[in-house]
């Protein structure tokens, strides 16, 4: 009986969560559609969530490209296919690693920041204060962060793709003596030109996931400091899980059709 009860409770909880996030996104879309966007707040958030994430995205992308190249270049040279390394690195980075790792890093930083900020605002009654002034927390708080991430995550991803490839190219040259020219030629011939914009579509979806989950978790905070902690952890965990799930679905739709 307990198992059935728990399953029922979990199902209801899941549906409430999904409904809550869908509702938040619907309301946000309604404000965006009517161009009721707070421009200054959005620019501030683009700086904080986007520009502020630049250094950790850069480091993650650089070392990911380098380690991918390190592992693949020596093997490739051993089997006489060193001229394919550039293509392998660019293919993996642009299609999968760039969008996904950038999103995961930004979820860890920006998603957590959004949830913590909103959670603190809930426990200090600032969200109720907004409502009491007849102001919508969705328009005032969620929309600027959502728009900021939708603009900035693809930019960060494009930069991450580039940095990863440069890191990979450098390591391929150092460890496997694959020339820069050979690496670039291989990358250009292996990677269809349409893959970059398709990978940026992934980033837009990931940005929506990070902003909506972070916002929903934060605005649903209950309790005091412990509640804020739970909301923040929940935002990062749920965002990352969804990024992985959606990444698979998007790869299947965008790259296999």
């Amino acid at each position: 009986m307990n198992v059935i009860e728990n399953a029922g409770r979990d199902t209801v909880g899941f549906l409430e969560y999904a409904g809550g996030v869908a509702n938040l996104l619907g309301e946000s879309a309604s404000f965006i559609g009517r161009l009721r966007i707070r421009v200054k707040e959005t620019l501030d958030q683009m700086y904080f969530l986007g520009v502020g994430s630049w250094s950790i995205v850069l480091l993650t992308a650089l070392f990911t490209g380098m380690v991918f190249s390190l592992e693949s270049a020596l093997q490739a040279v051993r089997y006489g296919v060193g001229n394919f390394v550039g293509g392998a690195v660019a293919y993996a980075v642009v299609r999968e690693l760039g969008p996904m790792l950038t999103a995961v890093v930004v979820a860890g930083r920006a998603g957590a920041a959004i949830a913590a900020e909103f959670g603190s605002m809930v426990v200090t009654e600032q969200i109720e204060a907004l409502l009491s002034l007849g102001l919508s927390p969705i328009r005032m708080l969620v929309v600027p962060r959502l728009v900021a991430l939708v603009v900035m995550l693809p930019v960060l991803t494009a930069i991450a793709d580039l940095i990863s490839c440069i890191g990979g190219m450098y390591i391929a040259q150092i460890y496997a003596h694959i020339s820069y020219g050979s690496f670039i030629d291989s990358a250009r011939s292996s990677l269809p030109i349409g893959d970059l914009p398709r990978s940026l579509i992934k980033s837009v979806v990931f940005a929506i996931i990070i902003a909506s989950i972070g916002s929903y978790q934060g605005l649903s905070t209950r309790g005091g400091a412990a509640g804020v902690g739970k909301a923040t952890t929940g935002a990062v965990v749920v965002s990352i899980i969804l990024i992985f799930i959606f990444n698979f679905g998007l790869s299947a739709v965008l790259f296999q059709s």
């Binding site: 605002m121 200090t124 009654e125 600032q126 109720e128 204060a129 409502l131 009491s132 002034l133 007849g134 102001l135 005032m140």
Partner: protein, 252 residues
């Protein structure tokens, strides 16, 4: 009672999970008066304020504000209603990322088409009326508890609301600031010609400012009247509460 009503809670029931906080509670808020709500901690006093501006929807019963039933209003009507009621929160609930001036200006910037120069002038006047014109550029974290509360008052009244709801306005403050805030509430009510509802434990302040007092106990209003009527009440629960006695019918 022959004075016009600003609001009326009618047979209101509120539950948090399985805990019943209010049951068939009925309370009238007289227009243009200061009504103070007293009661034990956790009795649901702050919930009454949240019911009055639609932040909380009752599980049963109806909440009328200026004759309109909040429980049946559309979302845009409810937002309009909220804009006509100022709310001063227990811990002020100022936005930490904004200066005091920006906090007070926010409802005008977002809800009106006033010119920025007019907004700044009004913000300065309003902050001046609570003695805070000199801290416009400072952030909430840089102010004392009493100053933060007064800034919260300023934000609550800047839109010239028909009523102001004060949640524990003097809790945790020294006697001088408490007296200052009590005076400010009375003065603001007079200046705005508005209605005020104050939730407080601070009996000295209540005696100074209240036109009417309502005592909430176990989910219902058990006493209502002027300061004199409440002080003379023969209800043993009211008397125990006013005297702060451990002995009596209130379970401790």
């Amino acid at each position: 009672m022959d004075r016009p009503l600003f609001a009326r809670l009618e047979d209101v029931g509120v539950r948090y999970g399985t805990k019943v906080v209010m049951q068939n509670l009925t309370l009238d808020i007289v227009e243009g008066a200061i009504t103070c709500i007293i009661g034990l901690s956790g009795a649901g006093k702050s919930t009454i304020l949240r019911l009055l501006n639609g932040l909380k929807v009752p599980d049963s019963g109806r909440v009328f504000v200026r004759g309109k039933d909040l429980t049946t209003l559309r979302k845009d009507e409810l937002i309009e209603m909220r804009r006509s009621i100022g709310f001063s929160f227990q811990f002020a609930a100022l936005f930490d990322s904004l200066t005091i001036g920006d906090n007070v200006a926010l409802p005008l910037r977002e809800n009106t088409k006033m010119k920025e120069s007019d907004i700044l002038k009004l913000v300065e006047q309003t902050l001046d009326s609570v003695g805070l014109a000199h801290v416009m550029e400072r952030y909430p974290s840089e102010l004392s508890g009493g100053m933060v509360k007064r800034a919260g008052f300023a934000r609550a009244v800047i839109s010239n609301p028909a009523a102001v709801l004060y949640d524990e306005p003097t809790t945790g403050l020294d006697p001088i600031i408490t007296h200052l805030l009590t005076d400010t509430i009375v003065r603001l009510r007079r200046q705005l010609n508005s209605t005020a509802v104050v939730v407080s434990h601070d009996l000295e302040s209540i005696y100074l400012m209240a036109d009417y007092i309502a005592m909430l106990f176990e989910g219902a209003i058990i006493a209502y009247g002027t300061v004199d009527e409440i002080m003379m009440s023969i209800n043993p629960i009211v008397q125990q509460f006013l005297q702060g006695s451990e002995v009596g019918p209130i379970p401790i």
